[in-house]
Symmetry: C2
Subunit: 258 residues, 2 copies
DNA sequence: GCAAAAGTGTTTTATATACACCCATGA
DNA sequence: TCATGGGTGTATATAAAACACTTTTGC
């Protein structure tokens, strides 16, 4: 949806393809440079940052819609994606859109009987993605993007700060029950890498000896024979996740600390 | 919505008051007779059991809608109510309604352009209620109800078995992080009562000595001077929740086992 | 006094935490 | 050889689990 014609068609005829009153706004977590980041888009017209988002097709399963939207925005498929909350309480989620304002900002006339006019609830999903594989695609409404450190999230449009906060809280709770790291790290990784990832997600320091002990004791990761050369320092060993144990832990959950 | 006239008005004019495509289906847990039960309604016409449910008013906050629906169905206010999942994947949630079938079952003509015709996603909430205070109100569609032991849930209408399973799983996970018992027990209760409640929710035996030790050590409950007479046996002491500790635990969460 | 349910303490085991030194590498 | 980051083991403290007998009550 990049040209004005496409947007006009979307506004006028979108109701034939999409469900009104409902959107999906994914919080996309990527890990890079020892920082946990989320993908933000800059809204043209509104002049602010927000989450990427999209609508649900009329005959499309909800989770499939979430995957499609993510694919459209980032090019990624087979991503870890988890529903965490449906938002319908904040003032923004009660609000009808203002057709005049919409016209002024985007030059598209949306009448009061338009499918986009009324309030829209949002189903929140969060995704864990390999930062390096993401190809962000912007559109008519959103012309810039940034990966923003979760420690420095600015004031966002709509109710998106609430969504980000809740996604983070859910991620931090999940990490105690599920082996989250898998999707945020490359296939082979070093102990310091996964260690820093967990510290970053939880926002606190973890003893490196106890941490390694725990992951290995749980059988979640295994040491490989290979090492990685990292400049003028000792070469760390590479590890990878144990697929079977990992899948079990995903299904059955684990209870422990790090 | 008890008379045919009311139903006809709801079918024809409901779109003015309610959001289409979205419903709320609460899983209502009650505890009675040492059993964890959920409230099921019998659908007239469909001849099967399902969860109570309702629609969201056009300008009503989502969580307020959940409370209202619960109030309408059970008469209860100020109930512990928690959103746990939004359902939009199962074949039923993709399906359009069949107007002919609807006419045959209920005698109300719903055309293909009716607001109820298209697919409806469902926001799942679960409630914890004091069984003894519930006053179930049935309506035109639902003429009987039952409190059904969670161990004996029959095959339900729509995708409601999925909702019940997920609500139960969420409740069992929550019990490790939050002091769930408060809303399912009367103000004053005995140790054996809360002990059996936790065993019932978790579906496994808990050592009574360790269990009591834990709850008291966490400061969640306190022993009162009173005892309850229970026939030809030793009188158990009464306990009650410590409100401050309880509120803290609700907010900050607790990590432990029972 | 008997049947039924309530109450309680200690020991063992497992898990979590705290802590410090040596090693490998490239410049 | 030095600066930097990687790697590893043990001892202590805390928490969980296992376990059995005595008390109270009404009949």
């Amino acid at each position: 949806m990049n040209s004005l014609e496409e947007v006009e068609d979307f506004v006028r005829n979108g109701h034939r393809h999409y469900l009104p009153h409902l959107s999906i706004d994914p919080v996309i977590f990527g890990y890079h440079d020892q920082q946990l980041k989320i993908l933000l888009l800059n809204w043209k017209g509104l002049n602010g940052w927000g989450l990427p988002g999209g609508f649900i097709q009329r005959r499309e399963p909800l989770s499939q819609a979430a995957h499609r939207i993510l694919q459209e925005r980032t090019g990624l498929e087979n991503v870890f994606l988890q529903q965490f909350h449906t938002f319908g309480d904040s003032p923004y989620r009660l609000q009808e859109r203002n057709p005049r304002e919409f016209f002024e900002k985007y030059g598209v006339d949306m009448g009061e009987d338009n499918w986009l006019f009324e309030r829209t609830l949002s189903v929140g999903y969060f995704a864990l993605v390999d930062y390096s594989k993401v190809n962000v695609r912007t559109d008519f409404f959103t012309q810039n993007y940034q990966w923003c450190d979760v420690k420095e999230i600015p004031s966002l449009l709509f109710d998106h700060n609430e969504a980000v906060d809740k996604a983070l809280a859910t991620l931090r709770l999940q990490i105690y029950h599920q082996p989250i790291g898998y999707k945020l790290l490359p296939e082979k990784f070093t102990l310091p890498e996964i260690h820093t990832l967990y510290e970053t997600i939880l926002g606190k320091e973890l003893d490196p000896r106890n941490f390694a002990k725990k992951l290995v004791a749980l059988g979640l990761i295994k040491k490989l024979a290979e090492q990685r050369a990292i400049g003028p320092h000792r070469s760390p060993y590479l590890y990878q996740f144990e697929k079977e144990t990992y899948e079990d832990a995903l299904k059955q959950g684990i209870v422990h600390t790090y």
